[in-house]
Symmetry: C2
Subunit: 345 residues, 2 copies
């Protein structure tokens, strides 16, 4: 262990070297109390402290101020490119306000999520932004019980008094259904996301309602519920539908990663997108405009979501007079690109 | 501030409710000392502690053990998809070893990086993995002076005794040059990354050497040094070369983000890739195989890099007998896809 031992100069070490009492060192190191000490002494103490590489004991400091100026952000899947612009939106609000954003990736594993939360709270982050919420979520309940300020982002759960920034998932899917119906598609499949997530659940509900509203037939055989929002699950899901369902000409994927999996399945089967099958995604994550074909998708305002969640958290942390909005639900936009086309006769 | 106040049950609260001394509570809560207390008392204390939602004061605990079982990872640009698989590689080693990985994104800003480092050290992460290193790096020097165990990943800097996991950037570029020369390209441009980063520097050096080794002419007009590894800089760089240099038929980009910017510039100018211009990237980051055209690139073993860096850090943290390797340099592989083709006559 010798090579990792950390020896830090203590307040006492600095005081001894400077020949002053440690309370004097303490006063000098705090800009607010520095004027209480003579300029000559202050200059000597600062030089010695700097020279010895002294740093205030952060734990002692935290015990005193009870603030870390650190905010934790829990991400369910760091490999999903939808999150970085959300994170940037958070950082660009919290940074200038003096807070450092730290992130952790749960990889959709509840045990890892619990571990992260315990460690983050143990290091006393001042607040949390959770992109990991399930519709029923023990971790969120713990945060509530604990009284730590937190905001849910992207995914939400039922409950009074929970701050959240989400999207109109229900209405977003309706735009995709209308777009495909306008292109003449009659049999439109749905690759739904996990139903224990508000996103997967609301988009599925939106699909059913929009199909009905357009006077199309709801065929349960055209719906596949994926176990995760991953490319691999999207491929598996579309393959299952292609194998079992009666012919269909379009598929609405629960998000862009699932839609990307649809591209894979179509390529494997020698089917062309959009000529043989129209595909829509959800999120407009970075890079989908670069894909073959560029993806038609429902755009969520990533960066703005991050901004909004961070602003709510800030007003909770700073205890501003005005109560922040409980839940922000953003309106969405359909981005039509090359993965959708007129239905073949 | 009332609505964010956090009231936690203290050890004393639990002791009072249980009618025992707080040292008894302390003994019960530590599985190692629990046998010192009668089973009946232990059971009562545990029930009450649980009931009151008592958590050991994490700062007090840290002061005692001086271990947080948290490792900090500094990422220079969270929007670059090359990092998530590296992060996963880190997490999959550290997680099972009992460490939580927390991440922070410096957005290539030295001030933000310094702030993150200060906060992370203040919360006493046990160690650091830095993907942010510059060839001369004050933050790395501070970590050295501080004695905190750390490992550099992807980028490195000169210096004795610094642990690092990097790639054969020099040799990787040579593979790209050879590939293009074999396809008959004679005038091959280079969009170099920032020269204060080892990656940008070594790849530039590798380009010069490989061009010479193939008996091709080095034309300084064919080289553009980008200010950052971003899509926007790649677009700017290729546009500048197209505007100023004598005709060329291929461009070697310093990484995939720069190559993606080349796609943008070519599309804007009505030029086709690979028919009019071959493009190579570096990293084989996720999604480049999905692009139009799928990108020819030099593959770095992302996940394995993460594993290797985490394993080195672990042996530093756990103080194993065997000294870990000082620097690991991984060999690379050229992945030929659709963005390169025979040079036009």
């Amino acid at each position: 262990m010798a090579r990792v031992a950390r020896t830090r100069a203590t307040l006492r070490d600095v005081a001894e070297r400077a020949g002053v009492h440690s309370s004097t060192v303490s006063r000098v190191l705090n800009p607010k109390t520095r004027p209480m000490v003579s300029e000559t002494v202050a200059a000597r103490v600062l030089e010695i402290a700097n020279d010895m590489g002294y740093r205030a004991n952060p734990f002692a400091l935290s015990l005193k101020t009870n603030r870390s100026f650190t905010v934790g952000v829990l991400i369910p899947d760091i490999t999903n490119p939808v999150f970085p612009p959300i994170i940037r939106g958070i950082e660009k609000v919290l940074g200038p306000a003096g807070y450092t954003t730290i992130l952790a990736d749960s990889d959709e594993d509840p045990d890892i999520e619990q571990g992260i939360l315990d460690r983050m709270r143990a290091r006393q982050v001042d607040g949390l932004i959770l992109a990991t919420a399930h519709r029923a979520d023990q971790v969120v309940e713990e945060c509530e019980a604990d009284g730590i300020p937190f905001v849910l982002i992207n995914r939400t759960m039922a409950g009074e008094g929970i701050y959240s920034v989400t999207n109109d998932d229900f209405g977003g899917i309706a735009m995709a259904v209308d777009h495909l119906a306008d292109l003449g598609h009659r049999r439109i499949a749905h690759l739904a996301g996990p139903q224990d997530l508000s996103t997967g659940f609301e988009r599925h509900r939106g699909y059913l309602e929009a199909i009905k509203a357009r006077g199309l037939e709801i065929d349960p055989e055209l719906i596949f519920v994926c176990r995760a929002f991953t490319e691999e699950q999207g491929k598996t899901g579309l393959e299952a539908l292609l194998d079992s369902a009666k012919p269909f000409t379009a598929v609405i994927a629960g998000n862009d990663m699932l839609a990307l999996g649809c591209y894979d399945a179509l390529e494997d089967r020698g089917l062309r997108c959009p000529e043989d099958m129209s595909v829509t995604g959800f999120n407009d994550m970075p890079f989908v405009d670069k894909f073959r074909p560029p993806m038609t998708t429902v755009r969520i305002p990533h960066y703005e979501m991050g901004n909004a969640a961070a602003n709510i958290l800030l007003s909770l942390l700073e205890g501003e007079d005005e109560e922040p909005p409980k839940s922000v639900c953003q309106t969405l936009e359909l981005i039509v690109r090359g993965s959708t086309a007129k239905a073949r006769d």
